[in-house]
């Protein structure tokens, strides 16, 4: 079996992730931050350790500014809905995922306005496009660090600089890059960073988080028990408690912690290097196959391990079905929950077949995928 769907969720996970989750479930999966017995305290301390490791990875000064969520979508909802109020204006890119677009669409019913910065997937990013969209009431800029459709990386450091100069809150959706590309919230002027746990960070599904810069005030999306300030009927205002009502996903977070430790141990540079070698091999192979259209930037710079293609006029759903059934290759076809990105690359009506590699893939995986694509392109579809 060859898994090339890491942009949706990574597989396999490092064995330490599974081992620690099992150990947690067997020995210390009590409620963290609620009781005083050793199981509960162990759970709490493991969760805190994860905050500290994430802080190291993203250069976050205070680990308590990281809030755990169930996925990146929840984090994006916390950030977007926690900041934007009626009459506010927000700027997004034309590569955004529905998890950014849909919460904003909902807010637009309450007098929030939105501008979309067009991204030319074949040209270098022009920051003037952002500057032109800024208004007096622009409160927030939200951009994806990398497209989940084309793999294109946006220059968040440059965008962050603009946001800082214009005193606009800068929020980055790192769904495709957390754990596999450089993220430094201080150097890149990121006020809010949202990340999933189950993709590049190698945690299990049901994990994710949001970093909120010190002093930035966001409304909470949910209120309830936090294990703190129980004498008060009002929601605590300190982070992470303010945003973490209800029991946390302890086995998930301890798994995420092991995933982050794996990244810290191997080093982000090594992970990028490995991914780059594989994607170079894949792209070079794709360019030699007739009838294959590669969408977006097909060079090696400023990209992730994600590539979207179509093969002639063959329906993308049939291609992925064939890849699965005949070649045991897992890829994802369709619109990838990113209508806006597909509109940008002109594939709204047909979708694409997306291959997403990560550092745990091998040359053999890529060779098999290329052979399968070649066979399909030559009409050898069953």
């Amino acid at each position: 079996m060859i898994y090339l769907d890491n942009a949706a969720t990574s597989y396999p996970k490092p064995s330490t992730v599974c081992d620690e989750m099992l150990r947690c479930m067997k020995f210390y999966c009590a409620n963290p931050g609620r009781s005083g017995h050793k199981m509960s305290l162990t759970a709490s301390e493991k969760i805190y350790e994860c905050r500290e490791n994430l802080s190291q990875l993203f250069n976050i000064a205070n680990p308590l500014n990281i809030v755990f969520t169930s996925n990146a979508t929840e984090g994006l909802n916390i950030g977007i809905k926690g900041i934007l109020k009626p009459k506010d204006h927000v700027i997004i890119s034309s590569l955004e995922h529905n998890s950014v677009v849909r919460p904003i669409q909902k807010l637009m019913k309450s007098e929030v306005s939105c501008s979309i910065v067009p991204i030319n997937t074949n040209k270098a990013f022009d920051t003037n496009n952002i500057l032109q969209k800024i208004r007096e009431n622009t409160k927030l800029i939200v951009v994806t660090h990398a497209s989940n459709v084309t793999g294109q990386i946006l220059p968040i450091k440059r965008i962050g600089k603009i946001a800082k100069e214009k005193n606009i809150i800068f929020m980055v959706d790192a769904a495709q890059t957390a754990g596999c590309h450089h993220i430094d919230v201080q150097e890149q002027n990121i006020d809010i960073l949202v990340f999933p746990g189950h993709k590049g960070l190698f945690g299990p599904q049901g994990t994710g988080g949001i970093y909120i810069k010190e002093g930035l005030e966001l409304d909470s999306l949910k209120e309830g028990g936090t294990g703190s300030y129980s004498e008060s009927i009002s929601q605590p205002q300190i982070l992470p408690d303010k945003m973490e009502s209800g029991t946390l996903n302890t086995p998930g977070i301890v798994g995420l912690n092991e995933g982050v430790k794996y990244i810290l141990k191997n080093g982000i540079d090594e992970i990028i290097k490995r991914e780059r070698e594989l994607i170079e091999y894949f792209l070079n192979g794709l360019k030699e196959i007739n009838n294959v259209t590669i969408y977006g930037n097909n060079g090696l710079d400023n990209r992730t391990g994600t590539v979207s293609i179509n093969i002639g006029n063959i329906d993308c759903m049939l291609v992925s079905h064939e890849l699965d059934k005949r070649y045991d290759i897992m890829a994802r076809s369709g619109l990838h929950c990113s209508y806006l990105a597909h509109k940008t690359i002109g594939t709204v009506n047909k979708g694409t077949v997306r291959f997403s590699l990560n550092c745990l893939n091998s040359y053999r995986h890529v060779q098999k995928a290329l052979l399968a694509i070649k066979n399909i392109s030559e009409g050898k579809i069953t």
Binding site: G33, G36, S44, E52, L64, S228, Y229, S230, E231, D241
Partner: protein
């Protein structure tokens, strides 16, 4: 051995303080705050050797960890503590 107790509102700040303290060779335990020392709510404290008091206060201040009060443990069996510091009245 004499011990002090530093109280917090939540599990998170003492978790941070415990890890930071251990890196500086100070051993602390996280405990549920005795009811008589808390504001009736569920809160957590660190319990540590009296000798580490200055070091831990300094560390907590450096990390901007919002502790509530500090007590000296007198007689646990009789619920006797001496308040050394109270954020509400001292700051």
């Amino acid at each position: 051995m004499k011990y002090n107790i530093m109280t917090f509102s939540s599990i998170n700040p003492p978790s941070r303080l415990k890890r930071a303290a251990s890196k500086k060779g100070m051993f602390v335990n996280i405990i549920r705050t005795p009811t008589s020392l808390s504001d009736k709510g569920c809160s957590y404290s660190i319990r540590y050797k009296e000798i580490d008091n200055d070091g831990l206060i300094s560390l907590a201040d450096n990390l901007k960890l919002n502790y509530r009060r500090i007590f000296k443990e007198q007689d646990k069996n009789n619920n006797e503590y001496i308040k050394l510091y109270d954020k509400l009245s001292d700051r």
